[in-house]
């Protein structure tokens, strides 16, 4: 049988619980056995991830419920340290250990929103409306303020009136695409958290 270490523990956990009860001379009534709480990580999907907080880069295992089917959304309900990871070896700090509260925070944003000039409230809008309005603002600003040549007649092709702060908790793939797009527009007011 092809099982990995963690699955092995799952199998064994059930076996040890049963056999140690028997060893204590407590052959349980069937009803008692049925009321015992199941091992909460049984029948879950495991995904390997990396802690998003500091730059130690601790390995995580995220446990989710769901059938794993294409049209079923997985729900993460438990996160712990990855014991195979050579740096954290299964441990997590008080931040990493509380990650489930971060991904399930009531303050996770759900929908695109806009706060109009002078207004005191958010209004929900569709992705298409949000992106269309933003690109209109970008293009109008770029077209009005793009500098092709400086006063000395040198080719400089820069856009200084819009800037961009990038996220250094985002993946390298997100960072790479962000850089590719931002520089193609000629933006120079561009930094990430490494600046501060």
């Amino acid at each position: 049988m092809d099982i990995n270490r963690r699955e092995f523990f799952k199998f064994c956990g059930v076996g040890i619980a049963a056999s140690s009860l028997a060893a204590l001379g407590m052959a349980p009534e069937p009803a008692f056995a049925e009321s015992a709480r199941h091992f909460k990580l049984a029948n879950t999907k495991e995904s390997r991830n990396t802690c998003p907080y500091c730059s130690v880069g601790c390995g995580l295992i995220m446990y989710s419920r769901g059938s794993g089917g294409k049209n079923v959304s997985q729900e993460i309900f438990h996160i712990e340290g990855d014991a195979d990871h050579p740096v954290n070896r299964g441990t997590l700090c008080p931040k990493g250990a509380g990650l489930i509260d971060f991904i399930r925070s009531p303050n996770r944003l759900q929908y695109p929103q806009v706060r109009e000039a002078g207004s005191n409230e958010w209004k929900r809008l569709s992705w298409d409306d949000a992106l269309t309005r933003i690109t209109r603002l970008m293009k109008d600003d770029r077209d009005a303020n793009f500098i092709e040549k400086n006063d000395a007649g040198q080719t400089v092709n820069r856009w200084l009136t819009t800037g961009f702060l990038a996220a250094s908790a985002a993946s390298s793939e997100a960072g790479y695409m962000t850089h590719k797009v931002v520089r193609s527009l000629g933006i120079l007011g561009f930094d990430n958290q490494a600046r501060v």
């Binding site: 740096v87 759900q110 793009f146 819009t162 702060l165 993946s171 590719k180 120079l188 007011g189 561009f190």
Partner: protein
């Protein structure tokens, strides 16, 4: 980090200075306890506060915030005076024998060539080596020449006597000498100290020079390139290393390539300036391949649209009229009303940047602000009136704010680069809430629409937008795998070995490493440093073999480390000039086996260059050796010099008491509006510093219920003596004010902060954690950066969050 987390276990001595790893990087700090338990290592901590790290130290020494250059400069003097240095290493692997030009000088706190009006050194040409007729640097291996770097260094730090240093730093003399003596013991070849630092060194107006001083110390002791050695930036965010490597900074391109300045109109000259020839015979000068990295990047971004004829799209790159548009510069422009639009992707500037009042006023002058974030941020609600915590007039703020929900780490595939330079792949585990999208999808969505508008309407310089290569399977949301393959790079034609004609790769195949890059347009690579991370053998970042056959902690099969899966940088220096490890017992890293370099790590060297060839270990420098003398590369000068924080509790620089012009960093940029709001010690007598708590990560964790429970309320730390003088008891509410604003918080009165005797007077410190703000599930609090000064390091412009002045009163 030059080294990496697990390698700390190989250290004989650990110096933590400018960081508090036990609190801020707990799971990495376990390797310090591992070194103590299994390698009999000692831990030294130098910090203004008796931190959680200090509580585990063998020796702890207090130091006044912002004075680390004095401490390290004094230590450098002590090691030179007592001749406790790694002689063979220093002579062969550093620039100590190099002879500096005659006109280089230092007097009254300034190097030659200073211009007070521009607060800079416009002409640094004398800060360089004397060259011979072949263009090679002149050297004197006896180190006797009066202008060799060794002699100049000795002279420069001769002023940093123990008494002077103790007077500047407030570190008691006896304790300071105890620390210095421990450190000196690692000058023995094969014995190593590691330095762990974080933002306690970075966030000063002289931060870069503090880090340089730390690096110089490690070179003197022969600790760079060694297992258990190095200069190790612990860093902050989970991918702050990756985004830096990918060049998401004002003046950079991926892989530490740099954008051109206005006057660099000629493409060939632009490349030539960045591709230096060797300054000594037989040296590698690896940056001479700059052209290969640059052309491969432009091919990755622009594909067939860039050719030799259009200089590989050189004109499509924006050119800089300023050294950089860093965030301080850019928010100053915003404050002056010169910016219309701004994007914040997973970044909360009103909380994170200094002088909240100025940042908020800048945001209020924008026409549009776009937030991309998984969480509610203060910046997204900067217009909202929230009691005394954000006292603004909403109706008068005319900025349109868009807020776009993004996925978080758990909801997407991709890679992060930790401070060990490891690229680690991760997998999606669940769906995001509501309609949240990935950052990639948002950037794709914006780019698409912009390109469509430029196609239909025309507009300003559309060429780089229209020609950007976007041949992704799903143009609206490129897959992480496609992007990762793109930054690794591929062969664009059948690649042949130029010498043998042997076929290396077929067109379209993934490159195996950056040595395959070409400057003729036949290869693409979006980030040369990451080349090798996704090869024909698959995704190297997803590797999970944690075996460690040499028990050195290198785990070469776990994930992938740039460059070339190398775990310790400059590791050729772990062997002596003849190619044998300095310590054959427990510090074996790389060695010459008679025909090639091999070892327990991937050699950071030309693998077939025999020791007799005399190629030196620091292959990225044209000299081949490491630099004590920074040449023209630093804003303030080639040697670190102590300058006071811009807000100094002693109002003078004890090294130059009669020269007010050099009290603080003379080459740091200060904006007109900000000089006026610096405070002085008569009004704000206490030295303040800011930091994080182990339960918190900046401003995110106040959205996480468990963290809000663990640290429920904003507090500041006051020393018991100071609190006694002010009649403040533990639990009292206090107001902490700087010349830029105030915060109120609960007082924690502690013996962990003690009064220091500095320059003949008592200096008290106030400790101010970050974390609180006006959104979140935690109790509201004041943004700590209401207090901090809007001035940065002379080179990086990283703000001086760690040293400023406040007053404290009971409310």
């Amino acid at each position: 980090m030059t080294n990496h987390w697990s390698d700390i276990k190989n250290a004989n001595l650990v110096l933590v200075m400018g960081g508090n790893a036990a609190e801020a990087h707990p799971c990495g700090f376990k390797w310090v306890t591992e070194a103590k338990a299994h390698n009999q290592a000692k831990l030294l901590v130098v910090d203004p506060r008796f931190t959680r790290t200090a509580s585990l130290a063998d020796v702890y020494a207090p130091i006044r915030t912002g004075t680390d250059i004095a401490f390290l400069g004094g230590l450098i003097r002590y090691l030179l005076e007592t001749d406790q240095i790694q002689h063979e290493y220093v002579r062969n692997y550093t620039d100590m024998p190099f002879i500096v030009k005659e006109n280089f000088s230092f007097a009254d706190g300034l190097f030659n060539g200073y211009d007070a009006d521009s607060r800079s050194y416009p002409d640094k040409s004398d800060w360089d080596y004397e060259l011979d007729e072949n263009g090679h640097a002149k050297i004197d291996m006896t180190l006797k020449h009066p202008r060799c770097v060794y002699q100049l260094l000795k002279k420069h730090y001769s002023r940093y006597t123990p008494e002077m240093v103790s007077g500047i730093c407030g570190t008691p003399l006896k304790r300071m000498m105890q620390i210095w003596d421990h450190i000196a013991e690692t000058a023995v070849p094969g014995k190593t100290m590691t330095i762990l630092y974080a933002l306690g060194w970075t966030q000063h107006s002289v931060g870069s020079q503090m880090i340089r001083a730390g690096a110089m110390l490690q070179l003197l002791l022969g600790n760079i390139g060694m297992p258990g050695g190095g200069v190790n930036a612990l860093r902050g965010h989970s991918n702050i290393q990756g985004l830096t490597d990918l060049g998401l900074l004002s003046n950079l391109l991926p892989g530490y390539l740099t954008l051109p300045r206005d006057n660099e109109q000629d493409y060939d000259a632009y490349i030539a300036k960045r591709a230096p020839q060797a300054l000594r015979p037989g040296q590698m000068s690896y940056w001479q391949h700059y052209g290969r990295f640059h052309v491969s990047l432009m091919k990755a971004w622009y594909g067939d649209a860039v050719t030799e004829e259009n200089n590989w799209g050189y004109d499509w790159l924006p050119k800089l009229d300023e050294p950089m548009y860093d965030v301080l510069k850019y928010f100053d422009m915003m404050y002056e009303g010169k910016v219309n639009g701004y994007f914040c992707q997973g970044f909360n500037p009103i909380a994170a940047f200094p002088n909240k009042a100025k940042v908020g006023a800048g945001l209020a002058r924008l026409k549009y602000l776009v937030i991309m974030d998984p969480l509610v941020t203060e910046t997204s609600e900067f217009w909202k009136h929230v009691d005394e915590y954000n006292d603004v007039d909403t109706a008068s703020i005319q900025t349109t704010v868009f807020r776009l929900p993004t996925t978080c780490f758990a909801e997407e595939d991709g890679s992060l680069v930790n401070s060990s330079r490891w690229l680690q792949w991760h997998w999606k585990g669940g769906e995001p809430p509501g309609e949240a999208r990935t950052d990639v999808a948002i950037m794709g969505g914006l780019f698409h629409r912009l390109r469509a508008l430029y196609k239909s309407e025309g507009g300003a310089f559309p060429d780089p937008i229209m020609n950007l290569d976007w041949s992704y399977l799903r143009p609206d949301e490129p897959a992480p795998e496609e992007i990762a393959k793109e930054y690794n790079g591929k062969a664009l034609v059948d690649l042949k070995d130029p010498k043998t004609g042997e076929l290396l790769l077929r067109a379209g195949q993934q490159l195996a490493g950056f040595s395959q890059l070409r400057d003729d347009g036949s290869t693409s690579s979006g980030c040369w440093l990451f080349c090798g991370s996704w090869t024909e053998a698959g995704n190297q970042m997803a590797r999970r073999d944690n075996s460690d056959p040499y028990d050195m902690g290198q785990t070469l099969g776990w994930a992938w480390s740039w460059p070339a899966n190398r775990r310790i940088l400059y590791n050729r220096a772990s062997a002596d000039p003849s190619g044998k490890p300095w310590n054959d017992k427990d510090k074996r890293l790389v060695w010459w086996d008679g025909s090639k370099w091999t070892g327990t790590d991937v050699p950071d060297f030309a693998v077939t260059s025999a020791p007799e060839d005399k190629m030196n270990p620091f292959i990225m420098n044209p000299e081949g050796v490491a630099r004590f003398f920074a040449r023209g590369n630093m804003a303030e000068g080639p040697f670190p010099e102590h300058y006071e924080p811009f807000e100094t509790p002693i109002s003078r620089n004890p090294l130059h008491p009669d020269s007010p012009g050099v009290t603080s960093n003379p080459a740091a940029r200060v904006f007109r509006n900000d000089m006026q709001v610096f405070g002085t010690a008569d009004e704000f007598p206490y030295a303040a510093t800011t930091y994080r708590l182990t339960e918190h990560f900046h401003f995110w964790t106040k959205h996480s219920r468990i963290n809000a429970i663990m640290q429920p309320q904003q507090f500041v730390e006051l020393g018991a003596v100071m609190a006694g003088e002010l009649g403040i008891k533990a639990g009292d509410r206090v107001r902490v004010s700087s010349n830029r604003g105030y915060i109120e918080a609960v007082a924690v009165v502690t013996k962990r902060l003690r009064p220091l005797m500095v320059d003949g007077k008592i200096v008290h410190h106030v400790g101010i954690p970050l974390h609180w703000g006006f959104v979140g599930v935690a109790k509201n609090g004041y943004l700590t950066n209401t207090l901090t000064p809007f001035v940065g390091d002379g080179n990086t412009h990283t703000p001086e969050y760690k040293s400023f002045l406040v007053n404290v009163e009971r409310v």
